[in-house]
């Protein structure tokens, strides 16, 4: 089905609404802090963009931070998607003892407010000497209950039981079934989960601020270093925030084809 003009209009409105803050971020990054405080606020680009980007880059140790964050978010995304798909498949389509209880436990873990786990987590992390090391922010986020739940719901709808049975009849071992049947069907959901996980891991700051310092920062930790003196320079802060978001947007655009491709591929299967 093709979209009509109404479809395009509605989508355009939502797109603009979603993009305004990003555009504003670029505009704000191109002005001085003082100009941003004035009324009316600047609605068009100023001439300070590259100055502010430069200050943000040197002030915030962003080179190392970007490398670190790419590694952290990449590892977390890979393991979250993989383990969530396996567990989600198991919960959606397989039969085993205590399944419902275990699944409730998964959902239960989502309900724990994350702000409070920080203190005990730091105790544990400092006990094993991981303070300021990247594994302190990677390992606690290697799996996600959200991901398991997401995959279970998706696969219970999208994966026909007959497909698994058919593979079974051919004598396929469980891992082969996963590889040849589950993964292909799960691809659209895996793509979406991967995208969401990557973004979340990239933007995570509450725990990393406690666990890491500027010596070995992620992007969000590095960006906490942007206020200089008593007066926060909003222009530089926005430039830093922009530098921190840009890699995500570039990744969307570069890998978007693959992700969308993944979604389309799944559609044909269904």
């Amino acid at each position: 089905m093709h979209g009509g003009w109404l479809t395009y209009t509605i989508l355009a409105i939502f797109t603009v609404g979603s993009l305004i803050p990003l555009v504003w971020q670029i505009i704000a990054a191109s002005h001085s802090s003082g100009r941003l405080a004035q009324t009316p606020p600047p609605l068009w680009f100023g001439d300070r963009l590259f100055d502010n980007l430069g200050s943000a880059w040197t002030d915030a140790n962003l080179g190392l931070a970007l490398l670190n964050t790419t590694f952290v978010a990449g590892t977390i995304t890979f393991s979250t998607v993989l383990f969530a798909t396996l567990a989600g498949f198991s919960f959606a389509k397989l039969r085993f003892r205590a399944k419902n209880l275990l699944f409730l436990l998964v959902i239960g873990t989502m309900m724990v407010p994350p702000q409070l786990t920080v203190v005990p987590l730091f105790m544990a992390v400092s006990e094993v000497g991981w303070t300021d090391h990247l594994q302190a922010v990677i390992l606690p986020m290697m799996v996600s209950a959200f991901g398991v739940f997401f995959m279970r719901q998706y696969l219970s709808q999208a994966l026909p039981t007959e497909l698994i049975e058919a593979a079974r009849v051919d004598g396929a071992h469980s891992l082969r079934v996963v590889w040849h049947v589950v993964f292909p069907v799960a691809r659209p959901a895996m793509a979406v989960l991967g995208m969401l996980t990557f973004v979340a891991a990239w933007n995570e700051f509450f725990w990393p601020i406690i666990a890491l310092t500027q010596r070995n920062p992620t992007v969000q930790v590095a960006l906490t270093n942007l206020g200089r003196g008593y007066v926060p320079d909003q222009g530089v802060i926005m430039a830093g925030a922009l530098l921190g978001t840009l890699p995500l947007l570039i990744a969307f655009v570069l890998f978007g084809k693959q992700i969308v491709g993944g979604i389309m591929h799944g559609a044909i299967k269904g």
């Binding site: 890979f78 090391h133 594994q135 942007l226």
Partner: protein, 422 residues
């Protein structure tokens, strides 16, 4: 398969991250300094200067802009004795905690002979000394307070614009400052208020008393203290006479009010000058000036301490002492506007004669030194900041939500009680 790959990645990671170099055989020492936003050691070139003079030292700074993020990290790390920098900054709002329950987590500067503490303002030393006499922090800056004002707006309303004349107008009495505001408001330009916020008035007034929220023995007295009563009443009067823009300080809207000249005066610690310059911008250059506050007071300031859990106590103490020595403090004032807590630095010609170009050569050294010399030896307690913010919020309830002063007062008390109750 994929699981194996993840495992390999993870182990590789553990190996790669477990080496971080400090110490070493060649006598090189790396010192880390953990600060929150408002320091400026790096920007003033102090680290570089120290490293040039001491080639075996390398200094790295970790900075977190907002003290609330910084203090969360610092407290968590102090309690575990893990991952601390060799030197950590401490905001005045947190110093009572650090010198109180947590004092044993910090090195006692008194134990180091080459630390000269004679040049600091005595009350600043008292604040960072524990009950049993351990000195856990060396003072960096303080916040002697003036009143900053817009000359053009005062002139339009028919008030004097000369700083000495204004200072004399309200000398010794905050009430006179509010009365001047009531006079201002009668002829004020359209949409212009006397002061930015009731909270600003409250902070200025309350900071000019010795005893605010705790008494000398550490008991809570905020419900009955003269300081809170006086400050609250003037805050209420500010609202009842319609003298403020009804903003909450340090929000974007407050900054816009500053940039647009919506208010004529503001309680102005030394560090506020930079704020005004930055936010009011070029358009208001030369329009601002500063006069002595009715009663001298202190708002803000900080310390540096050396955590016990650090590795290089000797070198860290040396650096901390050097950073807070009179010459460095004086330099930090002229370059960054952080007013020295060192009396010796305060009396240097650089500080005394300092002027501020944005304020058209306003003699800031003279004005703030004058205030600093009269600052009362304020008693600070562990929860000062929390209590202060609650009172400022209480006044905001009157300003923004139309609460009556009485119910705002009782709301504030119950909020503080709830927050303090363990």
């Amino acid at each position: 398969m994929a699981i194996g790959l993840a495992a390999t990645l993870a182990t590789g990671l553990l190996g790669a991250c477990s080496s971080s170099g400090d110490g070493g055989d060649d006598g090189q020492v790396t010192l880390t300094v953990g600060v929150f936003g408002q320091f400026g050691y790096e920007e003033a070139g102090l680290y570089q200067e120290y490293m040039d003079a001491n080639p075996h030292i390398k200094i790295q700074q970790d900075s977190i802009t907002e003290n609330k993020d910084y203090i969360a990290q610092l407290l968590t790390r102090l309690s575990q004795g893990s991952g601390l920098a060799d030197i950590q900054a401490i905001e005045v709002a947190n110093i009572a905690d650090m010198a109180g329950d947590l004092n044993t987590r910090w090195v006692d500067f008194n134990e180091y002979e080459d630390v000269d503490t004679s040049h600091f303002a005595p009350w600043k030393l008292v604040q960072s000394t524990s009950a049993d006499g351990r000195l856990i922090g060396l003072g960096t800056d303080i916040g002697p307070t003036a009143i900053c004002y817009r000359k053009d707006l005062l002139e339009e309303a028919g008030l004097p614009t000369d700083r000495d004349e204004l200072g004399a107008l309200w000398a010794g009495d905050w009430t006179a400052y509010i009365e001047a505001g009531e006079q201002f408001q009668e002829n004020a330009p359209d949409g212009v208020s006397w002061v930015d916020s009731p909270g600003g008035v409250y902070n200025g007034v309350v900071s000019s008393y010795e005893e605010r929220y705790y008494d000398g023995s550490g008991e809570l007295v905020y419900e009955t203290s003269e300081a809170v009563q006086a400050a609250w009443e003037l805050g209420v009067r500010t609202e009842e006479s319609g003298l403020s823009t009804r903003q909450k300080q340090f929000t974007p809207e407050w900054e816009r009010a500053m940039a647009n000249g919506d208010f004529a005066t503001i309680s102005c610690p030394a560090w506020m000058l930079g704020y005004i310059q930055e936010k009011a911008g070029d358009a208001a250059e030369g329009l601002w000036d500063a006069a002595p506050a009715p009663v001298p007071s202190n708002w803000g300031g900080a310390f540096v301490g050396v955590p016990e859990a650090g590795k290089n106590h000797e070198e860290a103490v040396k650096l901390a002492a050097w950073l807070t020595a009179p010459e460095q403090q004086a330099k930090l004032f002229t370059e960054r506007g952080s007013f020295p807590s060192s009396l010796e630095a305060q009396s240097t010609p650089e500080v005394q004669d300092a002027t501020h170009p944005y304020f058209e050569g306003m003699p800031m050294g003279e004005i703030f030194s004058g205030a600093a010399a009269e600052i009362p030896p304020t008693i600070i307690g562990p929860r000062d900041q929390l209590i202060q913010e609650a009172f400022a919020d209480g006044l905001l309830q009157i300003a923004q939500q139309g609460e009556s002063p009485d119910s705002a007062w009782s709301n504030t008390l119950s909020r503080i009680q709830n927050a303090l109750d363990e």
